[in-house]
Every structure is written in structure tokens, then in C-alpha cells.
């Protein structure tokens, strides 16, 4: 890495919490471990800490690289680093692998102390609220009483929103990007197809596939392929792949090989995903998405739900995001307006669909940088 604006070499750390925690679903875990990374220095008053929450397939590895894996760049590296919009010269940035994850935090692949075997399907369904509660325990561990900001895209944005509701006094600003206050029926439908793909894979074994020495690769692959379609926009897919064939002579083969470039791309993405992501974590995370609905306890009234938030809000959406379209962000913005909360809302013109939030679109990065700059002063 020669990028001077990179945080450079990073090392994951882990924190062990040896006390029982009861999850929203009613299950109690005897204890758990969270893997996390930090960038920058926590100041003396611990007032410059920013938590970055990950989405479905993300991890604690938000920025920088590992010494032995120079190409394993953090998933939001373009945003975080010295001189970048979330400037690690000024902020102490924390990335955490959520409970139930598959990157080292306690999850379905961990050993269940009751059985001595991996939890597998016995790992409880963990919700956004549970993630935030356990992130708060990590904040305690790190000596952070109040985050300067909690930031996330997509499912990460849900966590940022939940922070302002579960711990209104522990977060000064929430940055909610390409997110939604609750999934639509269509969003849940996509998740259900993904789950069915995984659970009907003969190698799934009711979620206990580890002990059979197999992975439900086919199901996980299809889940990822479908997810990928929802992350991109029709326009961008058309631009990138169109109807291009892989076959150089341009002739149709009249069989079921990956003939179109888009087929090949999706198969590649699906295959790659199965080499590093756990199917049980995928199932679990889609349920966390489905269940998130802070308005539910208020008769579906989001305005009432957000009344207890005290943070300043930055909300952003992307014009071609059809998974969590701009109108979903509008719901959050209007509910905040009802409560007269400070809110900035950016609707960024970007052709990359839902995944736009991971890109470094100049308009997007300029406005998020300006907002973060305001937090620092």
C-alpha cells in the first residue's frame, strides 16, 4: 500500500464479555466475543469516537489492509483514513463484526459451550437491537460514553438509527445512508427466496452442516447472486453488461452455459461469496433485516418511534437505489421533521443502485465529508 490516505496496516482485536446477555428473541447467551478494529486515536475526553456499522456481508475490517493480505482492503476504505471524509487524523473510528457474524465474533460457527460443537442452527436469531446493545458493551469496554457519530449504510444505517433510539444519550450524530426504517414486503420477499435457496440445499443439514464437513454452497451462491441483482441498478447493469456474450464469435449456443456476461458475472460473485461467508450468518442477518421496525412498538407510527431520538441526523439516499429507494429515506426525514430534530438529507444522483453507498461518488463524499467536518468542530 502506497496510498498515503490509507490507515495502512491494521490489526483486528477482540473483546470477550463473560456475562449472560438475553437477546430480543428471548434466548440467553452465556457470553460472547466481538472482533473489532480501530483507526486513529481516541482523544483524552473520548469525544471523537465514531462507530461504523456493517451491512449484510460486511465485517469489522472497515479500512486499511492486513500485513499478510495486502489486497484485503477494508470495505469502506474510500471513506475512512487520514484526509478522507471520515478523517482518522481527527476521529477514532471503530469497526465491529456484529454478534452472529462469521468473521470472528461469536456466531453460528462458534462452539456452543452446552454441546461442545458449533452452534450452527442453534445460534439464536440476533436482531439489530441486539447488535446495538452489544456494540454499547464494546463502547463501554473502549471507554466511550458517547459516540461523536454512528455511521452505516443499508443494514448499517438501521443500526445507526437504532442507536439514537436505544441509547439517545450515547450518540451525538447518526449518519444513515441508503437505508430504510423497515423492510417492504418486496424486500422481505427477496430475503425469503435467499433463505429458501440456502435451507433447501441438500448440504444444509438443518443448519448443522459443519459437523457433516460440507457447506450449502449451491444455496448460498444463489442467495448471493440474487442479492447482487438487488444491489445494482437496471441502468448500470445494462451499461456494464448489456446483452454481451462471452462467446467471442457472438453466436448463441442454445444450451445452459453462462453465455451472457451478466450470467458469468453473477456466477463468479456467487462462487466467490461462498468461499468466505457463512450460510447460517447469512440466514440470521436476513432475519435481522426483516425484523427491524422501530415503529412497530408505536402502532406503526415512525414519528412516535423517533420522538426519543436526540442526535443530529445525516440521511442520504441514491437516485437509482430500488432496494431502499429515496422514498424510504424520506420516511425517516419526515419523521425527524415531525419531531423537530436536526437533519440533513442528500439525495445523490448515482447510477450504481444500492451499492452506490460504497462508492466514492464526488457529490456524495463531499456532502458526507462536510457533515462529518461539522461534527468535529
Amino acid at each position: 500500500m502506497t496510498d498515503i490516505r490509507s490507515v495502512g496496516i491494521v490489526t483486528p482485536q477482540s473483546a470477550r464479555f463473560d456475562r449472560p446477555i438475553t437477546l430480543r428473541g428471548g434466548t440467553t447467551l452465556p457470553g460472547f466475543e466481538l472482533v473489532y478494529e480501530t483507526y486513529g486515536e481516541l482523544n483524552a475526553s473520548a469525544s471523537n469516537a465514531v462507530l461504523v456499522c456493517h451491512a449484510l456481508s460486511g465485517s469489522h475490517h472497515v479500512a486499511g489492509v492486513y500485513p499478510d493480505q495486502p489486497k484485503n482492503v477494508g470495505w469502506w476504505d474510500n471513506l475512512i483514513g487520514p484526509g478522507k471524509p471520515l478523517d482518522t487524523n481527527r476521529f477514532f473510528v471503530v469497526g465491529v463484526n456484529n454478534l452472529g457474524g462469521c468473521y470472528g465474533s461469536t456466531g453460528p460457527m462458534s462452539i456452543n459451550p452446552d454441546t461442545g460443537k458449533p452452534y450452527g442452527a442453534d445460534f439464536p436469531v440476533v436482531t439489530v437491537e441486539d447488535w446495538v446493545a452489544t456494540q454499547a458493551m464494546l463502547a463501554d469496554h473502549l471507554g466511550i460514553e458517547c459516540w461523536a457519530a454512528v455511521l452505516g449504510g443499508s443494514l448499517g444505517g438501521m443500526q445507526a438509527l437504532d442507536w439514537t433510539l436505544q441509547f439517545p444519550d450515547r450518540v451525538r450524530h447518526a449518519l444513515i445512508v441508503a437505508s430504510t426504517p423497515r423492510l417492504s414486503a418486496q424486500n422481505i420477499a427477496f430475503n425469503e427466496v435467499a433463505r429458501q435457496a440456502i435451507m433447501t440445499d441438500p448440504d444444509f443439514h438443518g443448519g448443522h452442516y459443519y459437523e457433516h464437513g460440507v457447506v450449502p454452497v449451491r444455496g448460498l451462491r444463489i442467495a448471493r447472486m440474487m442479492g447482487h441483482i438487488t444491489y445494482l441498478s437496471d441502468d448500470q447493469m445494462g451499461e456494464k453488461f448489456g446483452r454481451q456474450l462471452r462467446n467471442a464469435d457472438g453466436k448463441l449456443k442454445f444450451n445452459f452455459d453462462a453465455e451472457f456476461q451478466i450470467e458469468s458475472y453473477l456466477r463468479y460473485q456467487g462462487d466467490k461469496f461462498t468461499t468466505y461467508f457463512d450460510a447460517n450468518t447469512y440466514l440470521n442477518t436476513t432475519k435481522a433485516l426483516d425484523y427491524f421496525d422501530p415503529a412497530a412498538d408505536f402502532g406503526g407510527n415512525l414519528q412516535a418511534a423517533l420522538a426519543r431520538a436526540k442526535a443530529g441526523f445525516f440521511v442520504a439516499s441514491f437516485s437509482t437505489d430500488w432496494r431502499f429507494a429515496p422514498s424510504r429515506s424520506h420516511e425517516i426525514v419526515y419523521a425527524l421533521l415531525h419531531n423537530q430534530r436536526d437533519v440533513t438529507y442528500a439525495e445523490v444522483e448515482c447510477d450504481a443502485g444500492h451499492d452506490s453507498f460504497l462508492l466514492d461518488d464526488p457529490q456524495y463524499h463531499a456532502v458526507i465529508a462536510a457533515y462529518i467536518d461539522r461534527i468535529a468542530t
Binding site: 424520506h330 421533521l337 436536526d342 437533519v343 440533513t344 442528500a346 463531499a366 462536510a370 461539522r374
Partner: protein, 198 residues
């Protein structure tokens, strides 16, 4: 667009705003009016502007700004959720004039609008000489103007009377100085405080 006029209209608008009011500024530009009203009146303000550069400027100015398209209306805003809804020198840039004026008075208890007066003597002279007016208040050429509605003070007042919009107060200016006599001829900018018809 307030930069064209300096701050005299800010002072007028500030006089119409009570301390601590909830204020919505439509077409808020770089947020300088809201910033001014925050400082002078301690308002709780929000701006709407669809231009990303303006949104960015608002964030840097420390004001709440929302990137919405005014042409899509204010349907997401609740009735009476603001004391004043302001549209400073932008009314001529929106297509759905009447709908927006009505919406401003639904969302706000009162509306404040200011606009360049197309009927100003210099504009009339330009038309009489056969050319579209280009002036300090209408600084664009006909082919690059963001303005889509061209109207005079007399036109505006007639519209308000026809559509049941109460004209609570009007102040008129020429190059930043108050105009009392025949404002439709002598004023380059008009500011109004509007209300719902009793």
C-alpha cells in the same frame, strides 16, 4: 439567489419572524438566510434545495438542509408544522406556482415570498426597445434563465386575490431602497407576507 441582493431582504424577513419560530425556507440556496435567521431570531430552521452544490453549502453553513424537488410539492410536510414558510427570490423558478403557494400556506401559518418584479421600469424599457430585460434582478439571458415564470407585482396581487390568498403585508424595493410610489413601476423586488384567507 440571495447573493444578488445583498442582505436587505434578510432584514425585512427577519422583522417578520418572531424569536424561536419554526421556519422552512424553500429554494434555500447556500442557507445564508437560515443562518442569518438562526443568529438574529434563534429560529429552528430547515431549508429545501435540490441543487447538490447548494446542499453542500448549507451543510458547511451549519443549517439543516433537505435535498427535495419543490416541483414534487410539500406533501410529506404536515399541516401547520411551521410558523413561516419562506420562498426568497425563487417563486419565478417554479412551474407549479399556485399549488406551491397553497402548499406553503398549508404547511406554514404564514408564507413569506419575494420575487423580482418583471414590471420594473427598466424591464419595460428593455421590452419597449425590443429586447428581453437583463438586469440586476433578472440577471439571465433569455436562453439560460432558470426562471420559468415572468410576472409583475400587479400580476402577483391579482393572482392572490383570485385564489383566496391573503396579502398581509407587502414591501417594495428598488436597488435595496424602499419604494412607496407605484411599486409595480418603480420596485425591482417585492416581498410579501401571505396568509390564508380568513
Amino acid at each position: 439567489m440571495t447573493e444578488i441582493f445583498g442582505r436587505f431582504d434578510f432584514d425585512v424577513i427577519a422583522q417578520w419572524i418572531q424569536p424561536g419560530e419554526r421556519v422552512l425556507d424553500l429554494g434555500c440556496g447556500d442557507g445564508s438566510l437560515l443562518k442569518f435567521l438562526q443568529a438574529e431570531r434563534g429560529i429552528r430552521g430547515y431549508g429545501i434545495d435540490n441543487d447538490p452544490a447548494n446542499l453542500l453549502a448549507c451543510v458547511r453553513n451549519g443549517v439543516n438542509a433537505l435535498q427535495f424537488d419543490l416541483e414534487k410539492g410539500l406533501s410529506g410536510f404536515e399541516d401547520d408544522s411551521f410558523d413561516h414558510v419562506i420562498m426568497s427570490l425563487s417563486l419565478q423558478t417554479v412551474r407549479h406556482t399556485v399549488v406551491l403557494l397553497k402548499e406553503m400556506l398549508r404547511v406554514g401559518h404564514e408564507a413569506v415570498v419575494s420575487f423580482p418584479n418583471f414590471g420594473h421600469r427598466s424591464h419595460r424599457a428593455a421590452i419597449a426597445a425590443g429586447r428581453m430585460p437583463v438586469s440586476e434582478t433578472l440577471p439571465y439571458q433569455w436562453f439560460d434563465s432558470p426562471n420559468v415564470r415572468f410576472f409583475t407585482i400587479a400580476d402577483f396581487e391579482a393572482l392572490c386575490r383570485e385564489r383566496g390568498i391573503a396579502l398581509h403585508e407587502g414591501l417594495f424595493f428598488d436597488e435595496g431602497k424602499r419604494v412607496e410610489q407605484d411599486p409595480n413601476l418603480n420596485a425591482d423586488v417585492a416581498l410579501y407576507r401571505l396568509g390564508r384567507q380568513a
